[in-house]
């Protein structure tokens, strides 16, 4: 989850903002630069008009887990949003995208004092919106720390949020928590219970965190509570257990099983969080890309060899691999290689107005094109 991309000290070099330019135009070539300049006033005008419509001009957005992939990118986005006056980044290390609007606090959720500390920070900064991203994106061997961070940490955060009367809380969750079972409908809606096996701490901690969130929503009826359940995130820059699985030369699959899988592109995932911060949408939403693909097709699109393993054998083999730190995920993730776990993104489309820009296939191809460069060592990347 944590992506220490650069060892550069905080704050980052000030030229970042200028080089970023107006990133909204994906083709920032020299020919278009004058036009860019001419565009700025009109957009500022529009923003001004929106602010005049009644949105509080200076919102304070607090991001926990700010150094994670989602956190880093969200902080970068919020830095450029004039409607946000301050970003409070909370993590155990500073996000690299932090600029002048960001204030960084080092809080370790695994410490018992976290609750009081967070409460102080929220109150002192007058937090309006809290974005809770302090979750592990990939399964970890440090089960105890993960439990403290995700389950207990979420409680700390929410207790503090209730204490400080935070107006809105946006939390990250994942669709893998629905669990892959052969009796799943092809598209799981938000009403479907989270049935992932709680014997696996990765699922259990996150399900507990969601339960904490539901309790928070009951206890603090005034607060707007948004939970965004993302499908496995895939893209050219993100690193998680899915990208590591797909970047193996030989990808193990379950013999005879070829479930439909679904991803969401990293840009879409970030955009969904931005959307939830910008406008108020209470509720749980599945954030997924359009379209599904059989797992075998995904592996082939990624240019990998699938190695089918009989599933009774794979259980023990996978457990041994996990113990030896040789696999990306514990054996309980193997059900996702056998059965369906695809979520329905219709609610996010209708209620939030979330439009994924990449389909599942395009997300896979985008990941693949970056991964190919990584394979031949042409893409220098910082570790994740």
């Amino acid at each position: 989850m944590v992506l220490p991309k650069r060892k550069s000290a905080f704050p980052p070099p000030p030229d970042r903002r200028t080089t970023d330019g107006d990133g909204a135009s994906p083709r920032g070539s020299a020919a278009e630069l004058p036009q860019e300049a001419s565009r700025e006033p009109s957009r500022d005008l529009a923003r001004g008009s929106r602010d005049a419509l009644g949105k509080a001009p200076g919102r304070v957005v607090t991001v926990t887990g700010a150094a994670s992939f989602l956190g880093t990118n969200l902080v970068g986005l919020l830095e450029e949003d004039p409607r946000v006056s301050r970003i409070v980044a909370i993590d155990i290390k500073p996000p690299q995208t932090a600029q002048r609007k960001t204030r960084y606090y080092e809080v370790d959720f695994t410490q018992p004092t976290a609750e009081a500390r967070l409460s102080e920070i929220f109150a002192a900064e007058r937090t309006d919106t809290l974005v809770h991203l302090a979750f592990l994106a990939s399964p970890s061997h440090g089960i105890a720390v993960a439990h403290e961070l995700e389950s207990v940490g979420t409680r700390h955060v929410l207790v503090a949020a209730r204490h400080a009367h935070v107006r809105k809380v946006v939390m990250w969750s994942q669709t893998v928590l629905y669990g892959a079972t052969p009796s799943n409908p092809n598209f799981l809606t938000e009403k479907h219970p989270l049935l992932a096996p709680t014997s696996e701490p990765f699922y259990a901690d996150k399900i507990e965190a969601e339960a904490e969130m539901a309790r928070f929503a009951q206890k603090a009826p005034g607060a707007i509570v948004t939970v965004l359940r993302t499908a496995p995130i895939l893209g050219p820059t993100i690193h998680n257990y899915v990208t590591r699985y797909l970047s193996r030369k030989l990808v193990p699959t379950m013999m005879g099983f070829d479930p439909l899988v679904q991803f969401v592109h990293e840009i879409d995932a970030i955009a969904a969080f931005k959307l939830a911060i910008d406008r108020d949408h209470a509720g749980v939403f599945n954030i997924v890309a359009d379209g599904v693909l059989p797992l075998s097709t995904v592996i082939k699109l990624a240019g990998r060899f699938a190695v089918p393993v009989p599933h009774p054998l794979a259980q023990t083999f996978g457990a041994a691999m996990w113990l030896a730190h040789m696999s990306e995920a514990p054996p309980s993730f193997m059900t996702h290689l056998r059965f369906l776990c695809v979520a329905d993104g219709e609610k996010a489309k209708e209620r939030m107005g979330f439009r994924p820009a990449y389909t599942t296939r395009e997300a896979v191809l985008d990941f693949t094109s970056a991964q190919r460069l990584r394979d031949v060592k042409l893409l220098q990347e910082t570790p994740a």
Binding site: V2, T19, Q35, A46, D81, I92, F257, D258, G291
Partner: protein, 457 residues
């Protein structure tokens, strides 16, 4: 959080260093063949080419101006009007993409216009390379060498340059990456890159079509009657009897409609695609579930059926379920209980007409003498069938007998008179289910009664 990141930082350092010498040889990148010229990359290359031409640049600008106007309007209006406009633009974009002329209008597609800033888009980097200020949004990660390598990669995507020397060719042939890319392309032969929501794969379907046609015309010599009852458009539910130990009737029903509908047989095969609902257990078993999914089977559950009908598809259901295929030979052509009438509720709620279907001949393909249910838990199947041939001859014994099949489509039953609230009326649901059951049983009795031989009809 901490432990993990620290560890990876340490381990990845040497990797980053090792990549430098490789990056300093851009020749390798140029010599390498176009990285598996997917459509997407070709499009990107074309996009880069287009940007060079002034006329196209003007067009792009015009579009961007349009886009700005849209963004301005959107920010002035409330959420609902924004949604409507989003819809319009996304349609526009779909057209652009289809013709691959000017795929510029990607930005309005996103709900937040700020979003693209977030991550490095490879094409953005490629296009920005000639610009003096490198616009690689460095927020996510330093892309460092990307600017060197990506343009060359894209350049070669447009015009693949010939390998310069024997050594380059050799290096290319010796790199495992080369074979992995080739394999990726090669392995996509028998499958589509995009499947529909339920995994139906048109290319795989076309590949298997000769085999299904053989089964249909030569092996089972299926005769189909009353295909006119199946509507050529709009939602419809085909309700059929289930039989035959192996779920072959779904596949044959699909083939029947595909072949017979439309220009009336003669192998025209332009009928509708039937999506049939299958029992859960085939998804527990290896190999079967994936293949059936690709041919158009869908797991039977209320949510899936509703979703299919909302898309106006032709859905086939076998309400007898596992009881149907697991019926003993002595009970052949005697319909089992129709579940809990779920299909009737479904049709009432969605206002879908029902066409009863009788499949004759499937009962005798694998006559089930008795079932072993003790082993079923261990093997993950509902029962272990014992047929005259099955455990005796091994897997070969599961080959279906070449019986003569008949498929009879009955008169459509319109439920729209009852209205959606009738779905909660259990008595009515029971009555309607019984009516459909009686219709199928009647057709079955008639067809079976008129048959002289199991194998010759």
């Amino acid at each position: 959080m901490t432990t993990r990141s620290k560890k990876t930082t340490a381990s990845a350092k040497p990797r980053a260093r090792a990549s430098k010498p490789a990056a300093s040889k851009p020749k390798v990148a140029e010599a390498a063949p176009a990285p598996a010229a997917t459509k997407r990359e070709a499009k990107r290359a074309r996009r880069a080419d287009l940007a060079a031409e002034p006329a196209v640049v003007a067009q792009i600008r015009e579009l961007e101006a349009q886009l700005d106007r849209l963004i301005d309007e959107a920010s002035r209006h409330d959420l609902s009007s924004l949604d409507a406009e989003d819809d319009e633009t996304s349609h526009e974009e779909a057209e652009f993409d289809a013709e691959a002329t000017l795929p510029v209008a990607q930005v309005p597609h996103r709900a937040t216009p700020v979003a693209p800033k977030a991550a490095v888009q490879p094409e953005a980097v490629a296009a920005a390379a000639p610009a003096p200020a490198p616009a690689s949004a460095s927020m996510i990660g330093s892309f460092g060498d990307t600017q060197v390598s990506l343009p060359s990669a894209h350049g070669s995507a447009a015009v693949p340059p010939a390998p310069e020397s024997v050594f380059d060719t050799a290096r290319e042939l010796l790199s495992s990456d080369f074979y992995l890319r080739k394999w990726g392309r090669l392995a996509m032969r028998g499958r589509s890159e995009e499947v529909d929501d339920f995994g139906f794969d048109p290319i795989y379907d076309a590949k298997l079509k000769p085999m299904l046609d053989f089964l249909y015309t030569k092996y089972f010599r299926v005769e189909t009657y009353g295909i006119g009852s199946v509507p050529t458009s709009g939602r419809c539910v085909l309700v059929a009897n289930h039989s035959g130990t192996l779920p072959l009737d779904g596949v044959m029903l699909k083939t029947a409609v595909k072949r017979e509908q439309g220009d009336g047989g003669a192998g025209g095969a332009n009928g509708r695609d039937v999506r049939w609902l299958t029992e859960d257990f085939i998804y527990h078993m290896p190999f079967l579930g994936g293949a059936m999914n690709r041919l158009g089977a869908v797991r039977a559950c209320q949510e899936n059926a509703e979703r299919l009908l909302a898309k106006e598809s032709l859905v086939a259901v076998f309400p007898e379920g596992v009881k149907g295929i697991g019926k003993l030979f002595s009970d052949r052509y005697r319909l089992q209980r129709f579940g809990r009438g779920g299909f009737i509720k479904l049709c009432l709620r969605t206002g879908t007409p029902i066409v009863p279907v009788a499949v004759m001949g499937a009962e005798e393909t694998n006559p089930l003498l008795f079932k072993i249910e003790h082993l079923s838990k261990a093997l993950g199947v509902p029962y272990v069938p014992v047929t005259p041939t099955f455990p005796l001859l091994g897997p070969l014994g599961l080959l279906p007998a070449p019986t003569k099949w008949r498929i009879q489509f009955g008169e459509p039953l319109d439920l729209s008179a009852h209205g959606p609230e009738a779905a909660d009326d259990e008595i009515l649901v029971g009555k309607l289910a019984e009516r459909v059951r009686a219709a199928i049983q009647g057709m079955l009795d008639r067809v079976v009664g008129s048959r002289k031989s199991v194998f010759f009809g």
